[in-house]
Each structure stands twice: as structure tokens, then as C-alpha cells.
Symmetry: D2
Subunit: 361 residues, 4 copies
């Protein structure tokens, strides 16, 4: 299902890659929030294909049209709906693969799930294109967070074996987040950028693809928001992040590394700084018991390499039940990670606004 | 919030560590499922404290009493409620720490979230003890899965730097899962067990604690179950797994490692084997586009070291707003991982039954 | 909130009367259902304004455009989104009343609820125009029901003091439902129609308005669907029916009249007829304990007179906090009941499909 | 399903009439609310069987035991669970009717819904006994409302043809509500009480039963709470009220009578009184567009006569598929209405607290 109810925001995503249009309905947003459409455009531009060889050459002009929920530049509080028309569809490119399962795609599982009735063109509702309305929703929520003093941002932590620096989990600032997320290729280190671009270009030239890790953070988020057990911040953030195609893992704070150290090393001691309770270290990633601690919220999401590669692959025709060789035509990103950066932020933004609505402080 | 609505099962956990009792209500279960109470007891015994030094010496006799939803040994289909009375409470042990935040615990965040009204004794509703009713729910769901030919199981993949072997993601069998999960110390390799026990005991002796990674799998789960976007299998499994205290990360299939390899390596080619569509490798962990592929479902969850250690720690009194040294009394597991194994399975079982109910095939 | 999650269908309505457009997203519909767009058009035409003096003269060309969820004439199973553009907006007509509360409208309550940020033009999201996408959703569900042998229909039971005949609660047939609901003025009795038209026209001439009662039924709905307590059929039908503006009451079976008779009269005896269990009478309206009995489902909904009347009314300016006389300009239905008939059916259709999905038999 | 999620409170009712116990879990309550257990006892005593011949002679000692969610007399904010043990079960009385459908009961529909696996003893989960935990929940919510200046109350408006006076929809006061709801037989008029008692006793003597109407009101509820469309106050109140067995209709404000008058009569004019916006009349029952207007919230619910009567009735054995005469043994209320009064209030209380949490003002 493409909707998500956290007790706070209700988000309903819709659309198929090659249908009439895609979009989103956001219900239960706070009313009266001033929304700057240019900021939305800027956010969505970060997800748009790059002209620099790191992504597909398709020109997706994903200009969302707001159908409801905005009046005189402010949210009305009633459902906010936005629609993006599909204009550049090229469905011919996909014509010959409709029943041969593209490896690592949802062609086969989607066919089973919907008894063969789903739209197979370009992945249909499984297309990464549905992250465009997700980013729209995230861009709206970013502004609602901004009104409350919260800034979020993300960067490319790694592309294959090339790593960027990590955010400083204690001292990361709103300014740093703003700066890095708005870079054309969002890394903290210029050297990392250069090497990552090389790795991506090499993969493209080699008709291959690569994956990577996105690191995301929020600063200024108030302490005391969230809930224990199933509606904790980690629960709702991970639920939203796994909605982004190609995500295969998520970790908060020091994440999987916490398993390698002693409790005495992992426990973040509390102290009072400038009259405020903080932790000296931030292995917990700003969340304890599902609830924000006031420290920066930090998490990382792993993205697999783009499944669509131009090399011949072995697969099956799931209608004929025959083994078949598959050559995927069309244009594809050799790496989804640069464009995934705003998507991860969007998921975080939606989760944080939802939690703030549910537990206003 | 301690409840979770997936459109399938509705689960509502309740209770505080030192209150009258803890429990769970499971709504929308299928009716007529034969439930063997001894199997439930055996499942819960796996979570019970061990007498072997790897966990606390508290004797938690967590015998759940079924209040409703069962009739003549079968689920009625109406809400199944089970209650565990708290008998061994020792609240005196916790008396002096109620306003000094235990590092890596939810004392401070819970205090803020509930405006100081939550039960501070033993962590209250944040206590890991709430995983007992979670295991009850998981034990019920295990039997419902069993009736449908699905077997789940988990093992300790690592404790600090010591690693067990991984499940074979393609060939793991129901028998292997049954065997490993029922071992007193669930590892695939006997050597790993021995070394892990040493690491845990050393941590205990040293008034310290260690964490680790649990690997969990399901075999026999039919292809075509789940949904794209926010209600995919990864989404609901992760939402439930993060309800287990101390989890800081989750990854499916090859997880974070997918970021290190080429698309040509990561893509799992489809083939036909014994008249059935399978993948040759299983980097995708049995889930594509949120939907099961018919391959084993595999994921790993990272657990931080037990926050409660007996060494003095620096912290703050969040009522007085003063820096304080804290010495945690009472008995605590030096490592939660062995007891977490059935909890992770439980989360998976609940997610899988919920998905099967929602999308019956 | 304008969305509704019953564990079955998730429906999200959006739009404002004078915004860019209105629409609906239907999530979790069954896949592969053949949908005839002409039937949808015919359903929606029943809600469109009549040229016969019983409703407003505005020409609302409510042609829904399907954006997603349909492929080659069938539901894909992924979210079905439909949008209706607002073309005939006449916002000038409403210019002078934005802060004087129209009696019996939601101007004042909506202003408070959304802190003055909601769209005041034409009622904004509170406009009865939002029943157009509701009817679209109901028209889709009508076809899904039809595929399962279920027929629904409604008629005008009363307009002010003029009453139509009631459906025979035991013997009402699919044919009768089809016939009456497709009449231009849906009554069972021609005499009632004539008198009702007179009452409506007299009200219009007199710058006044009238209300009435709609009776709705379903036949062919299988026994055993629904749930006890809060997700019973009565619960979800009433929740959806009260989403239609102007509804002030709902009753099932003999409804309020059940309070006037003895148990021995009210109890519907069971008997076996043609090898099937039926009830001899149908005071229960086809629902017992929230679950369908296999007898016709029958309910009635009361509609208040159109709040917008052209007579001067006393009211207040809720910004100035002054008493003011109000004269509502623009064109308004003297009676919403004829156009409400398909809306009530739509609510029933959505509820029944949702229940069938949740408890497939 | 026995749970209900309004975005505010999550309520999960469980239990069977003759099982081990019944109860309720309330999730997402505000924290720190002082709860007086004696007031809960007093509320529940109003639902308890009367010794005056108007109800069954069974002594149901429904003393709820709170298992979690309360600490030092206040709500913790974590799930509040309460359990009532079943002690007086007399399951022998029901032994012979398990497969003969009691007319107007859910025996047959429940059997179908749960494929014969549900607990048939005493109606199982369909038993009116499940209204005891509903009343517990309502009693907790009554106190939360009281802390916010809101008072609710209900009375018997009619028993068969005998009517009580109505609440004055404009001027009803908190004092009146408190007084009437705490009367042993809650009517406004002493004469009505006397005649109603006669009607009930006559029905009992005659081995018959009668129904009636409950009128319920809230005063002090702030204006501006609720939402348009499907989560309006009417929607959530009706959803909860139809969870009470035997309810067949609900109407708000002047309800079905609104269909009989002109718009000019039905529209409630706004005016300013003591510096506050009010309506001169209150046909709208305090709710416009799903949102509270600040006027008293008023609604009525119709209850059918007790289905269980001691007279022989014709029915079928739904296992044998044979026509059978049925004589229901055991003790039964000749009229559920007096005991239903607090149940209706409970439903309202839960709905109002839920709405206040969701849209805090």
C-alpha cells in the first residue's frame, strides 16, 4: 500500500511511471504554514536527473501542481494534494521486457502480487519516479520543520569503496546541513566527490552500476518527541525510508558499529552544557527509547546499485516460464545515490513533522 | 504508542516493568488456528533469563495467561489477550536512580515525553520486559505460519568481534532454522558459541556489557505477498524490529554490503529450478519492491551493549539539573543478544502473518 | 481528516470548492477488476445538477480524469487516483461573506479549526462538491461489488412531509434497485415524485429549502462479512455516510422504530428457505453483531434542508465579532436530497468493498 | 475488529462472556491525568445490573483491575490496561443453544464470520458484557474531560411509547447532566420514570422485552474541534456508539426531524452573547461540518428490545440446517436501555477525548 498513517500525517502516494500522472495527498498537516513554492522547486531540483553523467539523460520536468490544501500561500490544514503529469514517457523503450523479470526489480513480485494486472511499463507504481511526489511532501515538511527551528540535511557517505567524512554526531550544525545538501554533488569532502564521480562514470562506461550509503541528520529537533515501542522515531523513520526503492538497510547513531564496542564505550554520558542537558557523545543518534533526546538525529541508509544495467543478464519469462537472456534498453542512472539524498531527507522530514504533530510540546 | 496497525494484525502491547502486569492484545488473527500452549511456553523459555552467566539471575517466571480469543485450543478470531503478572519486582533496587538519567536508557527522554508522569521504576513501559508479551504474540504467529508451511528462525551472528557463520541465503532450510533457534545458545558454529560465551563472561566480570547482531530468516513464505512503498515487508518488519529495545540497525539481504559491489554482482539472476522461479543468488533477502520473491527472507538486526552496567558513570539529575555520578545497582544481563534472538523472530512472525492476512494468496 | 482506513480500502479525498481541483485516492483496491468508464460517468451524472428546477443551475461538468491505478481497463491494485478540475468557479459570488458565518454551514467552525487559514471560498473543503470524488469512488466500488453479485441502490424516501414507499426489507430485488436508482427523480412511487417536486419547487420559489430522507439497500451481499464492536458494518457505513455534508442521522433496519415494539415483534425469526438460512422478517436490516446476515442490508439517512437560502438571516461576523444580517447570493439547490441519493450509495459501496476485502469469504 | 484508531486514542477491547476475563487497552492517553478510582467505580456501577426488576438478576461484580498505565494515581501516558475477571459464568445455562441461532443475536453471523471457531458461550465476544470495559474506558475519559471543563451525561428518552422530556439543546447545563445521569433510573421526569418502569416490568412478566432511546449531551466542549469528512465528530461518535450491541440508529441535533422542516426553520442563527459566538437555536446538535460549534453536543441512539426473551421462538440449527423451536433459558434484562445509558456516555467520552488529543486547541 502506498499510504502511511502515523497518527500524525497521513500520506498517500499514487501513480505509475508511464500513467497519466503521479502525486501525493498529505492529510492532517498543520494549518497556516507559509509554503514557499520556490523552495519546493529547489528541493525537487536536487532529485532531478543531473547533466553531469552521474544519472540518466532523461529530462524529467517534475513540476508539481498543487490542487488543494494551499490558499494564499499557506497550508489550509485540509488535504494538500499535488500532481505531476507524466510527459516524457518513452514507453516504447520498455516494450519488449514486460514479462522477462529484470533482476533486482519488482517485475516478478509485482506481477504475482497484483495477479498480472499491474502496469508493467517502466516499473509502474514500483518506479523510482514515485519518489518525486515523496520529495514534494518532504519539501513541504522541510518548511514546516524550519518554522519550528529544525533543519535536516543529508550527504553521500559512500559510493562503493569511496567514503566521505561523517557528520560530527555531536557538533553538526544547521549551516553545515544547508551547505552540503545544496551542493551539486552532496559530499562533505571535495576529494571524495571527485573519486566518487570517477567510480560512477567508470561504472557507466562499463555498462554497470554502483550503490552507496546516504547519511542524514536533523538538528534543532526538540527533546521528548516520539513514543516507545512501535511508533518510536526509529520505527517511523525506517518505515518511510524503506519506501524509497533500492534501500536495503538503515542504522541510527553508531548503528551496526554499536555491536563491536563495550557498553562503557557505547553509553553516551549525560552532562549539562549551557544550562541544557546534552550527551557528551552521540552514539544513540539522538533517539532513546523511540524518543528524541535533543541531540542531533543521525542515521544512514544503504542503497543497492541501480538494478537496470545494460549488460546482458540471465532471467526468466514469468509468463512462459522459460529461461531467457535479457538486455535492458533505455537510459538509466549508473548510481541512484546522488538523487536519493533528497529522498532520504524527505522521508525524515515527513516522519519528524508527523511525530511533532502527534506529540506537540 | 505501543500499538501497530498494518491492515492485517493489530497488536497492542501494554505494561510497565514494576506494575501489576504486562500483556498484549492481538486483533484480527485468523480464526480456527490450533494453538499449542506448550510450544508457546517453549518459545518464551528461549527469551527467559539463562542460568549460565550470560544473563541476569532474576528469575522471571513469565507465564502468560490467556484471557480471551482462544476456545477449545483454537483461535476464535476475536481479540486474543494474554497477561503476565509481575511477581519478582524488587523495586527497591531502583529506588535511588529515579531522576538520574541512566546513560543509553530512556529515563530522560521518557520523562520529557510524559511530562514526568510515567512510571520510572525499572524503566516502566520502556523496560525490555515488554518483549515478553511480544514473544507471546510471536509464538502464536509462529504456529499460524507453521500451518501455512512457513518456518522462521534466528541465531546470534556476532557478539562484539566474534562472528558466527551466516545462513546460506539460498539454501537455508526449515530444519536448520528449527535446530539453531532451539539451541541453548543459538549459534550455527560451536566454536563461535564458545568464544562468544567467553566474551560475555569477561564483560560481566569486568562490570561491562557487550552487544551483537542477530540474523533472522524465514523459509517457505510464498512469493507475491507484501506491498510497494510504505507497507512493504521491509517497512513493517523494520517497524516491528525497532520496537525491541536496544536495536540500532537493520539490513535485508546483503544489506549495507550491497553498497560495496557492482550492479552486475548484486543483481540476483532469475532461473527456473524444479519448475519454479527462483534466484541464483539471494542478495535481495527474499524481498523485491516490498514483496516476497519466494526466496528465503533474510535480515540482520544490530543490538547495542546492555546500557545498564555496574561501573560508575557520569550523568545528570534531570530534576535538579545537576551533574551526578551514577552507580546502577541491581542485576543486569551483560549481553541482551542471546535473549533477543526469539524477540527478533517474534517481530518477523507478526509481520509475516499480518502481511499474509492482508494479501491472502 | 479526509481519509479513512478500515483495514480494507484506504480512501483519501481532497480538494476545495474553488481550488484547482478535487479528487480521491483509493488504495488497496483488488487488482484486475474491469472498470467501465461509462458506468462511472452514468453514476456521476446522477449526482450532477438537474435541469428541472430541483437543484442549482450551475453546470458542474464533473468529469473525473484517472491519473493512476488503471491499466488496460482494469484496476492495477496500486493506488487509484482521480482528479476533477474546477472550471466553473464564480468565486465573486462568495466574495462578501467570507467572515459572516452562514447559518448551518461550517464557516465558523472551520475558521476555528484551521485558525483562519482554510480556504473560505464556497465552503472550501467543506463544500458538498467534495461528494463528486466520493461518487467516483462509489462508482468504482459499485462495479467491484457487481463482479461479486452485489447490487446497491437508493431512493428518496421523503422530502419534508411527503413520503415514498419503503423498500420491502425482505423481498427487495436487484432489479428494483437498478430501476429506481436510475430514475431521473429516484422514487418508487410516481405520485410521491410529483408531490415531492412540488414541495421542492415551492421552497425554491419561497427562497427557502427542504430536507428529506434517503433509503439505501444492498442485495446479494454474502452473509458472514463484518466484525463485532468498532469495525462492524454499521460502524463503517455510518462513518462514511456522515462524511456526506447535511446528514444528521442514520438508522439500520427498522431503526428508531425498533424502540417502539416488543422483542417478540422485533426479533427476526430464522428459517430455511430454498436450502438457505434466511430471516422471515428483516427488522435487523441485514446486519447482526456488525456482521452481514445475508438478508438485504437496509438503512436510511436524514438530510437537513440546504443551509444556503436566499432569505436574509441573522448571523455574526466572526472576525469583527459583530451581529450582522446576511444575504447569501449565488445559486443553491433548494433540496440536496435528489443529488444525495448516489452519494449515499457511494458511501455504502465503499464500506461494503472494504469489508469484503478485509474478510474475504 | 474490536479496536478503533481515530488518530487520537487507540482503544482495544477484548474478551468473551464466558472466557477468563474481559478488558481494554487505551493507548495514547494524555499523561499526568489524575484518575479517581472511586469515580470509575461509580460510573461502572451505573452499568451494573439493577436489583429493581428492570434488569437481569445476575450479580456481575465488574471490578476492573488496572494492570498498567497508572502510577501514583495518574495516567502515565503509556498504554492503560484494565482487566475484569469473569466469575459468575453459568455456562450451563447456555449449553443447549450453541447451534440454534437466537433471533436478533449474532450467533449465526458470528459462526459464519469466524468459520465456527468463535466462542459460542453467552454470545462470546458479541456479548453485551464487553460494554463493561467500554464503560471503564469511558469513565477514565470522563475524568480527562472534566479536567478540561467538559461534562457529559445521558438519560432515557423513551422506553417503548413512554417518553421523557428532552434536554434543552441550548440551555442544558453541566449540573443537569450530573444530576440525571446519577439517578438510579436516569430520566428527567419522575412521571416518565414511573411509567417506564411499569412498561419494563410488564414486559418482563410477559416474558417479553422492550427497547428505547437514549439521549446524550456534552457541555463545555470547546468550539473548533473535529475534522471535515470522515473524521468528523459525528463520524467517530457514531462509529463508537454502534459498537454498543443493540444500537440500530443515531441522530445528532434535531436528527431525523430536520427532514420535516424548512431551511429557514432549521438553520441556527448565530449571535453574540456575553462576548461569545453562540447559536440561538441548536438544531445542529453542536456539530457543523464535523467540527464542534461550542454549543451543547446532543445526540440520540435507538436501542432495540433485548433479543433474549423467554418465549419460544422459531429458528434454525445452523449446523444441522434444520428448523427448530428455541427456548432461551437463563436470566436476561427485559430492557437494556437503563444500563445502556452509561455505555452511550462512554462512547461519547472516548470520542471527545480522542478528538481533543488529535486537535489540541
Amino acid at each position: 500500500m502506498s499510504s502511511c498513517f502515523n497518527g500524525g500525517i497521513n500520506i498517500s502516494l499514487f501513480g505509475e511511471s508511464h500513467g497519466r500522472g503521479i502525486g501525493v495527498v498529505l492529510d492532517n498537516l498543520p494549518s497556516g504554514e507559509v509554503i514557499d513554492l520556490e523552495k519546493i522547486g529547489a528541493f525537487m531540483a536536487r532529485r532531478a536527473p543531473k547533466k553531469d553523467g552521474t544519472s540518466t539523460m532523461r529530462s524529467e520536468k517534475d513540476i508539481p501542481e498543487i490542487f488543494s490544501g494551499m490558499y494564499e500561500g499557506r497550508t489550509t490544514g485540509t488535504p494538500l494534494a499535488a500532481v505531476i503529469l507524466n510527459t516524457d514517457q518513452h514507453s516504447g523503450d520498455y516494450g519488449n521486457i514486460s514479462h522477462i523479470a529484470r533482476p533486482a526489480h519488482a517485475d516478478y513480485t509485482g506481477f504475482l502480487r497484483y495477479n498480472g494486472a499491474n502496469d508493467p511499463r517502466g516499473g509502474g507504481h514500483f518506479s523510482a519516479r514515485i519518489t518525486a511526489p515523496l520529495c514534494f511532501a518532504g519539501a513541504v515538511c522541510a518548511q514546516i520543520l524550519e518554522h519550528r527551528g529544525v533543519t535536516t540535511g543529508a550527504h553521500i557517505l559512500s559510493i562503493k569503496e569511496i567514503s566521505d567524512e561523517r557528520f560530527d554526531p555531536v557538533n553538526v550544525t544547521a549551516e553545515q546541513l544547508e551547505t552540503v545538501k545544496n551542493r551539486p554533488f552532496p559530499t562533505l569532502s571535495g576529494t571524495a566527490e571527485e573519486k566518487m564521480r570517477e567510480v560512477i562514470n567508470a561504472a557507466r562506461t562499463d555498462l554497470n552500476s554502483v550503490g552507496g550509503i546516504v547519511e542524514c541528520a536533523a538538528v534543532g529537533f526538540p527533546a521528548g518527541i516520539g513514543s516507545p515501542m512501535m511508533d518510536g522515531l526509529e520505527n517511523i523513520i525506517s518505515r518511510l525510508v524503506f519506501a524509497i526503492p533500492a534501500v536495503k538497510g538503515i542504522e541510527f547513531g553508531n548503528g551496526f558499529s554499536c555491536a563491536d564496542i563495550f557498553g562503557s564505550e557505547n553509553n553516551d554520558e549525560f552532562t549539562i552544557k549551557d544550562g541544557k542537558i546534552v550527551t557528551v557523545t552521540n552514539n544513540h543518534g539522538g533517539i532513546l527509547g523511540g524518543i528524541s533526546s535533543g541531540m542531533p538525529i543521525i542515521f544512514r541508509a544503504a542503497f543497492k546499485p541501480t538494478p537496470s544495467i545494460s549488460r546482458p543478464q540471465n532471467s526468466v519469462d514469468f509468463k512462459d516460464m522459460t529461461n531467457r537472456e535479457l538486455v535492458i534498453k533505455g537510459r538509466h542512472d549508473p548510481c541512484v545515490v546522488p538523487r536519493a539524498v533528497p529522498c532520504v531527507e524527505a522521508a525524515l522530514n515527513i516522519a519528524l513533522v508527523s511525530a511533532m504533530i502527534e506529540n506537540p510540546r
